[in-house]
Amino acid sequence: MAAYINIENISFKYLQKQQINIFEDISFNVNKSEIFYLLGPNGTGKSTMLKCLSGILHIQKGHITLEGKNINSFKHADLAKKIAYVPQSHTSVFPFLVREIVVMGRSPHISSFSSPKKADIDAAEEAMNTVGVSHIADRPCSNTSGGEWQLVLIARALAQNPEIMLLDEPTSHLDLGNQIKILNVIHNLAAKGLTIITATHFPDHAFIKSNKVAILKDRHLLDIGVSEQVISEQNMKKAYGVDVKIIHIENGIDRKLCVPVLTNSISA
């Protein structure tokens, strides 16, 4: 019995002539309906790995299978019906309305020579409701805040009606309120049966529920497993080169937190 998503010995580099791979010989599994956090310092290839999983980039070695089927053997539209990808925030060149952006998620369900029909517009409405952006549906996307835009992109991915959603640092450069809003949306989607794989810079987010975490460091996985075990003081030191204390908060929160220990030179 193959795992839901099986990643086996994958390696990737951007150009053939490059000596060193971005990452090499990485293997892991992702189970259905779990939230999988990918941690690691800047530039280790978290985004690159998500792009390989989504089919934007192609790995040179190894293979990625979805329910036993190699993702390279899917047609473009068929893969997009299974896997949706939420990019790191970028803006649209043209000031499309939010609803026009979200309905683009219906693209894999619409034939090349046709436009969105009533059913597609309804599906987009539903996605906007789920994510909570219906109230800005008629606003040009150039007039949305960072948090709203990230939610719009999640709604667009949801409109694809996928089984798996890949998110590339969805909470980076968002304020605290918007970070929590996004995390709530992600947890709700997972509760509905979606499999979530997300790259993040916030180890604390992985503690919110018992999630699976992998740390990517120097082309390899430093560790992989449940958040309580993987996000340890030793692993954080190895991954980010800073001393941290993992503390447990009581007072009705009942959750672990990852707190950096500041050296004297900084705190002084």
Partner: protein, 354 residues
């Protein structure tokens, strides 16, 4: 013109965006009626003014049995002289505008025009050497069309790396190919007979709808109709391409194939336009922005609106070109004189470049 634009944009500011959606059908109907009236006005006006009812009767007499109470000379002016010219303006205006709108979408740049891949420079060079060596209208048109396609083919092959065609490479290759063909056109002008051939080349490049007959219109219009029809059918996908390659890929779009189809269609339209009329600039750049001002950015509505606005616009410009002064003004000059200030206005109003 500017005043009219200002009032239109003021009206639109007062309607909220949701209302624009429901109004988009009405806008299309209004633009369609505008197009029909512009066509009839254009058939009326000229060296000899003809009554509008006579124009309409003459048009219908081609397909219906109507008693001819007008002279055959008037009929000839309407059907043989003015009709092909108006139809050419309609097709070229719609074609250049729709090519511009789709190029702006796939190149993700609102400042792109249909000439970006060098098609106009190539077609211009083809026409110039045909004038130099053959000086026969059919040969000029065939050469112009062929060199337009050749130029874009060259651009495409220069920019192709590892079976992908990055947008930046495509645009830079377009500049290279455009510069090369412009230089060769200059060379052709330089060696041409300054009394006879050189002015012919210069006037041809400035653009005119004077040489169009029903016969060559019949030959060229299928190219326009098939290519515009194809872009019309895939118009919604241009939205997705305008979000960038990575997004489009994860949304299940075969980006290389889709871009290829759009580039081929837009190139054939532009090459066919240049081969009919010479180089008519600014239409493909400005009209899509006028369309966006009316109905927003969604290509599902923008593409048909752009076609309607573009065709009416070029017919109006052509009326001015042939009636403003005793002799005809090259149409490319007028589209530039109108286009530049309209574009400046739109830039400041909409902050397009933002």
């Amino acid at each position: 013109m500017i005043k009219a634009l200002k009032s239109v944009s003021n009206i639109l500011k007062n309607i909220n965006t949701a209302a624009i959606k429901t109004h988009s059908i009405q806008i299309q109907i209004i633009l369609f009626l505008l197009l029909i009236s512009v066509v009839i006005i254009s058939l009326m006006l000229g060296r000899m003014d003809i009554h509008p009812f006579t124009v309409i009767k003459i048009l219908f007499s081609e397909i219906l049995p109507i008693e001819k109470i007008w002279s055959s000379r008037i009929e000839s002016v309407v059907i043989d002289v003015r009709f092909p010219r108006v139809m050419a303006a309609l097709l070229i205006g719609a074609g250049l505008s729709v090519s511009g709108a789709s190029f702006q979408g796939i190149f993700r740049n609102p400042l792109v025009s249909p000439d970006i891949l060098g098609v106009a420079s190539g077609a211009g060079f083809g026409a110039a050497i045909a004038i130099l060596f053959f000086d026969n209208i059919v040969t000029i048109q065939i050469f112009s069309f062929a060199f337009g396609l050749l130029a874009v083919g060259l651009t495409y092959s220069i920019s192709r790396v590892y079976s992908a065609v990055p947008v930046l490479m495509l645009v830079l290759s377009g500049i290279i190919v455009g510069a090369l063909f412009s230089a060769m056109t200059s060379l052709t002008k330089y060696v041409a007979d300054p009394m006879d051939k050189m002015p012919a080349i210069v006037f041809w490049l400035l653009g005119s709808l004077n040489n169009i007959t029903n016969k060559n219109l019949l030959f060229v219009s299928p190219f326009f109709i098939v290519c515009m029809g194809t872009i019309y059918l895939i118009r919604w996908r241009i939205n997705i391409l305008s979000m960038g390659d990575e997004d489009a890929k994860t949304l299940g779009v075969n980006i290389e194939r889709l871009k290829g189809i759009i580039i081929i269609c837009a190139t054939i339209i532009t090459a066919a336009s240049v081969s009919l009329s010479g180089i008519i600039g600014w239409v493909g750049l400005v009209i899509p922005h006028l369309g966006r001002l009316l109905v927003g950015s969604d290509n599902k509505i923008l593409i048909p609106v752009t076609m309607l606005v573009g065709s009416s616009y070029l017919i109006i410009v052509d009326i001015i070109a042939r009636t403003a002064i005793a002799s005809e003004i090259p149409i490319g000059i007028i589209t530039a004189i109108f286009g530049a200030p309209i574009f400046a206005y739109l830039l400041r109003k909409n902050q397009i470049g933002r």
